[in-house]
């Protein structure tokens, strides 16, 4: 008997039945197909979009994410330059080759060295888009893909994320729904990797003292484009 069949047989013997059939199997299949939501805390779910945005910012800042709110896309490159200068970081950036970042006016910042692609070992700073942000815990939701390599989220010392106010949702479950609504690539419903990121890398492994920058980024900075007015008009 193969290990697989043996393990399944032992489980069924423990459960006192054979393979799941009939109504029980139908019910289990329906539970998967419906993937109903369980209890979702009222903390974020009960809020209107502006209050939800404020909650996201407060929760993110509570875990050492820094957030700058800007009004329009035209300000993005300026905010990137300001942040790098303020943090004393080199004027270089590895940018996700994603169409949503194409409109950034890098030409106004000739001193910024912009490269595109996945992260390379020497890269100091990355800039990526995200799929959504979860207000409940100040969490960013990023997905892998041709234009959004996962290494950008982990290798550089500093990770800058571009977020639009209209992308802020209440709960993780809202993020899953966004994923399920995506067209998907070929046979795959889901991207290879989904990253929920809540603050910069940290460890408490030495005497329970929290140190930032254990292996992933030491700094996580969110540039929040406040397009909430546009989303409220919808």
């Amino acid at each position: 008997m193969s290990a697989r069949d043996d393990v399944l047989a032992r489980i069924r013997s423990g459960l006192g039945r054979g393979e799941l059939t009939g109504d029980a199997a139908t019910a289990a299949a329906a539970r998967i197909a419906e993937h109903s939501r369980n209890l979702i805390p009222a903390r974020a779910a009960a809020l209107d979009p502006p209050a939800r945005l404020d909650l996201f910012v407060a929760m993110a800042e509570a875990v050492q994410t820094t957030v700058t709110r800007i009004i329009a896309d035209i300000d993005i490159s300026g905010e990137v330059a300001r942040y790098l200068a303020a943090e004393n970081l080199p004027a270089e950036l590895r940018v996700a080759p994603d169409p949503s970042l194409d409109s950034i006016s890098w030409s106004e910042r000739p001193l910024l060295n912009i490269r595109y692609g996945k992260a390379e070992p020497g890269d100091a700073v990355s800039l990526t888009p995200c799929l959504a942000a979860i207000a409940e815990t100040g969490t960013l939701m990023l997905i892998s893909g041709e234009a959004t390599p996962t290494t950008l989220n982990f290798l550089p010392d500093t990770h800058i994320v571009l977020l639009r106010a209209s992308q802020v949702v209440a709960a993780y479950e809202d993020g899953w729904d966004l994923l399920r609504q995506r067209p998907g690539d070929g046979p795959h419903r889901l991207p290879r990797t989904v990253n929920f990121i809540t603050g910069p890398s940290r460890t408490g492994d030495i005497e329970q003292k929290i140190e930032l920058g254990a292996h992933g980024p030491r700094r996580l900075h969110v540039i929040l484009v406040d397009d909430a007015k546009a989303s409220r008009r919808k």
Binding site: S13, G145, P187
Partner: protein, 474 residues
């Protein structure tokens, strides 16, 4: 690893006599519970979430075969591969085969308790492959050649001085005059040493906090980001996970994730919660080319349908360790195997046998804090009692102890006799201890009176006083 659980009593004495351990556990025993309490106070729905978490896990175990088959189907559809392992040896062999198939030399590892359980590192080393632990705590104990003493904070038994010592002994290529006395310097050194290892590794091995049947995904939760570098950079990602990690849907995983970080570290959410589904996709610029899951039984299936089935709900959050007066006094190494504290006292005998680990379920005051903080409400004290009953039934306890229990049970079942005997004993002891008010030694209780005095009874038994009070009320 070879268990030393038989030597629990000696191990526990060594722990109590270790000043470094006492200081380290002092920090842990206050910090974790306080942070957990704060996090829960911020979430009014926490108690309702615990009920849901329990129901999700119970439902999953009752349909475990169904969800495992569905999970396997979805992993395969996403281009991954599931390897079933009946026991530790099969799991080790599966991992080694995959490593050999790509001629791996260096393997990075995210923290995984089931990898400890199957003693994976030793096996890889014996076969010429270098396993590199990348979680800071795991890295420290790997350098010190010792097992983890806590399931989420493996090096919790150490202070920074021991970490410095381990780093100086291992990182001999660095300047001996460098200053690494403080935690930030130690973290920076570990980061600098491990970064090239992440980049050089041929295979990355992680555990899984959850496996999602609906999507064929594995989910890991970390704070350092080491698990993500481990599973993103090498050509091959191997997930080693035990059967009971499965959950039906992403929604179910979300509910359990809300419980996990708050119960473990008191965080709202860990820094990184990462879901992986299969290998890299055509067009992806990074990610592993192969994705394997080694699904480990190693004793779990035998727990189904018996009195320890509820233990399979365990999320490995460590709240029961952090709140246990025994664990926080003696530390994790005393328990002698992979899983310490109350969850270990129930799980270890199930996995390695009650003959080997019989002391563990007896090392409890039954104060019940473990059950009261468990995010999925596992009745840990009840199950420790089941182990004690089994030990009694299987004659695994000393004949004198067994005889004493039998005598006590016989008396306790006869209330009139019991009350009379207790009343006589209370009066006798009260008379004997009249002058001092306490006893410095007692027959049959030498271990107890060795370090404390027994107060002399003041003449009447509790039952007698209680009965008197009730009569007076009427």
């Amino acid at each position: 690893m070879d268990p030393t659980s038989r030597a629990f009593i000696e191990n526990a004495h060594a722990g109590l006599a270790n000043p470094v351990l006492r200081r380290a556990l002092g920090i842990a025993g206050s910090g974790f519970p306080a942070r957990r309490a704060e996090a829960i106070a911020r979430l009014p729905e926490f108690e309702a979430l615990r009920e849901e978490g329990r129901a999700i896990k119970d439902h999953t175990i009752a349909h475990l075969d169904y969800y495992l088959e569905l999970y396997e189907k979805n992993v395969t559809a996403a281009g991954g591969m599931v390897h079933w392992a009946r026991d530790a040896a099969e799991a080790r062999a599966a991992v080694l085969d995959i490593c050999r198939s790509v001629d791996a030399k260096i393997v990075t590892k995210g923290k995984s308790m089931v990898a400890e359980e199957i003693a994976l590192n030793d096996h890889l080393e014996k076969n010429g492959i270098v396993p590199v632990e990348t979680d800071l705590g795991e890295y420290i104990i790997q350098l010190r050649h010792e097992p983890p003493s806590h399931i989420i904070a493996p090096a919790i038994h150490l202070m920074k001085e021991q970490v410095e010592e381990a780093f100086r002994a291992a990182h001999t290529e660095l300047d001996p005059a460098r200053v690494i006395a403080e935690a930030p310097q130690l973290c920076a050194e570990a980061r600098a040493i491990l970064r090239p290892q992440f980049l050089a590794a041929d295979v990355g091995i992680t555990g899984a906090n959850f496996l999602v049947a609906e999507t064929g995904s594995s989910i890991i939760v970390t704070n350092e980001g080491n698990g993500d570098l481990t599973q993103t950079l090498p050509k091959v990602h191997i997930v080693v996970a035990s059967l009971e990690k499965i959950v039906p849907t992403l929604e179910d995983a979300s509910t359990l994730l809300r419980l996990l970080a708050r119960s473990a570290t008191g965080q709202e959410f860990s820094s990184y919660t990462t879901m992986s589904t299969g290998p890299r996709r055509p067009g992806d610029l990074d990610g592993p080319e192969q994705y394997h899951v080694v699904l480990v039984d190693n004793g779990r299936s035998a727990m189904i349908g018996g009195e320890f089935q509820e233990m399979l709900r365990c999320l490995r959050c460590a709240a029961c360790l952090n709140h246990c007066p025994v664990y926080t006094a003696i530390g994790g190494h005393a328990y002698g195997w992979v899983y310490p504290g109350p969850m270990g006292a129930v799980l270890t005998p199930a996995l390695i046998g009650v003959g080997e680990a019989g002391h563990l379920p007896n090392a409890s005051s039954f104060c019940g804090r473990c059950e009261s903080v468990c995010p999925v409400k596992i009745p840990l004290p009840k199950m420790m009692r089941h182990w004690r009953e089994r030990q009694f039934a299987e004659r695994r306890i000393a004949p004198s102890y067994r005889a004493g229990l039998k005598y006590w049970a016989w008396v306790a079942q006869r209330p009139a006799l019991y009350h009379a005997l207790v009343e006589i004993k209370a009066r006798l002891l009260g008379w004997l201890g009249k002058t001092r008010g306490r006893f410095r030694a007692m027959p049959l209780a030498g271990g107890w009176t060795q370090i404390r005095d027994m107060p002399a009874p003041e003449g009447r038994s509790f039952h007698a006083l209680w009965a008197e009070r009730q009569r007076a009320k009427r």
